[in-house]
């Protein structure tokens, strides 16, 4: 049992760590959003693994909250960036022929 | 949108699936089934649907059990096989090769069916819907790892097959007929590709 315990938590922790590295390194905002999303899912998976291995259902409501939180977070950031795009419809760099933008 | 001025009862009929879903969620959240939970769920669902109204889904569907089973079976098999495939591509030393963004000409014209199709395509690992042109009925799908042009064509075919399964599971008779009618569109679809 302890072997399963350590193995599952080890795998999850490694995954969380890797996505944390991406979160720190991620060159753009969207990379960080993706990393945060993945991280939250891994956290939720960890909670579920804990609940299953310990037969302890107290953390199950937390799962609901975490899984919805991931969605709300990533969607609001995506909308935020998309809104910035709408505010500046001509967001092309300098070597861009003018007048081809309408979308 | 054609049946908008039909009164409250009609609107309620459109909202009924949503109401049932909300009541179910409420009961699941409480965990136990009781009359108090059921009544509380109905009250909450009514408040939510009245205060935050959603546009009704035009053109309800009918569910065909056989088609639904086929769709779900294919979906599960797809989920497992391509999940394993993507996991292998992630951990193997050579990593992934090239990806592709393909555009597929669809044949259905129903909001609900297109939503189901897009959701199921995105849920299956390895393919992800990026953009959808509602007027032209095209779907832009990003595919992780394609080997060559033939692979791209295979992905296109699989998107169309998935569409067919969705329509056969949820579509009305007319929509299923539309699948067969525009089979010639499918033949010319590869011609739309740009090099």
């Amino acid at each position: 049992m302890t072997v399963v315990y350590w193995l599952a938590y080890g795998l999850l922790a490694a995954g969380a760590l890797l996505s944390l590295v991406r979160l720190a390194r991620g060159p753009s905002l969207l990379d960080r959003v993706v990393a945060t999303d993945t991280l939250l899912v891994i956290i939720a998976a960890g909670l579920a693994v804990h609940a299953a291995l310990e037969r302890d259902p107290t953390v199950v409501p937390v799962l609901v909250v975490v899984s919805l939180l991931a969605f709300v977070g990533s969607v609001s950031v995506a909308r935020y960036i998309g809104g910035m795009m709408l505010r500046s419809p001509k967001n092309e760099p300098a070597d861009q022929p003018a007048g081809e933008v309408p979308r | 949108m054609t049946d908008e001025p039909s009164g409250v009862a009609h609107q309620l009929r459109h909202q009924l699936p949503l109401l049932v879903w909300l009541v179910l969620v409420w009961n699941f959240l409480w965990g136990t089934w009781s009359w108090a939970n059921l009544l509380g769920g109905i009250v909450v669902a009514l408040v939510v649907t009245v205060l935050l109204p959603l546009p009704p889904v035009v053109g309800g569907t009918q569910i065909r059990p056989l088609g639904l089973l086929r769709f779900l079976g294919y979906f599960l098999v797809d989920l497992v096989t391509s999940g394993a495939e993507v996991a292998w591509q992630t951990i193997r030393p050579s990593g992934i090769g090239r990806s592709a963004i393909i555009r597929v000409q669809l044949r259905t014209d129903s909001d609900l069916l297109l939503t189901i199709l897009a959701e199921s395509l995105t849920l299956v690992p390895g393919s992800m819907v990026i953009d959808m042109d509602r007027e032209r009925r095209t779907l832009a799908v990003h595919v992780l790892h394609v080997a060559d042009e033939g692979d791209v064509e295979r992905q296109r075919e699989s998107v169309l097959a998935q569409e067919e399964r969705v329509v056969r599971a949820f579509g009305s008779a007319g929509e299923i007929a539309a699948l067969g009618l525009s089979a010639d569109e499918r033949a010319e679809a590869p011609g739309r590709r740009t090099p």
Binding site: S19, S28, L30, I42, L63, A78 | S99, T122, E149, T194
Partner: protein, 163 residues
């Protein structure tokens, strides 16, 4: 208390381990893959398959209907919401040039009406104009230039444009 006593427990533990492994591959993919879209693939995969497996294992281990229903609800939420957020992020990513075009074999979106008008060819994935603040400033400057002398700039831009 928490020992493995039945076949169901063994199945559940195996499911949990596979799910954890898929979470590890998610982290690995998010770190290894070259651009936002492919990272998104890696990120959404465990959200679906691994999460379902873990939920299944949990439902087997935790006997009791109330927790089973709640786990089912979590799985349903995940399956409904993961594609939506993935789609929104990837669409914004495509339009804001977070995509390594050189790694695409076929890019149908580039042609036609949804053509990406800011494509430059050899742009690295994380080029400076992608940073939101700076892109906004640049686009505002662009707007002013456009407002000043549209026609003249158009010529110049055409000449600069890589073929």
């Amino acid at each position: 208390m928490n020992d493995i006593s039945s076949v169901g427990d063994v199945v559940a533990v195996v499911l949990l381990l596979i799910g954890s492994f898929l979470c590890l591959t998610a982290g690995l993919g998010v770190l290894r893959f070259p651009d936002v879209l492919t990272r998104m693939h890696a990120g959404t995969k465990p959200q679906v398959l691994g999460f379902l497996l873990i939920m299944l294992g949990g439902a087997i281990r935790l006997q009791g209907w109330s927790t089973t229903w709640m786990l089912l609800l979590v799985a349903a939420f995940q399956m409904l919401t993961a594609p939506v957020s993935a789609h929104m992020i990837s669409r914004v990513a495509y339009r804001r040039r977070h995509v390594r075009r050189d790694l695409l074999l076929v890019d149908d979106l580039r042609s036609g009406e949804a053509r990406d008008s800011v494509y430059r060819g050899d742009e690295p994935a994380d080029a400076p104009p992608e940073e939101p603040g700076r892109a906004l400033v640049e686009s505002r400057r662009e707007d002013e230039v456009h407002r000043d002398d549209g026609a003249q700039r158009e010529d110049g831009a055409d000449r600069e444009r890589p073929s």
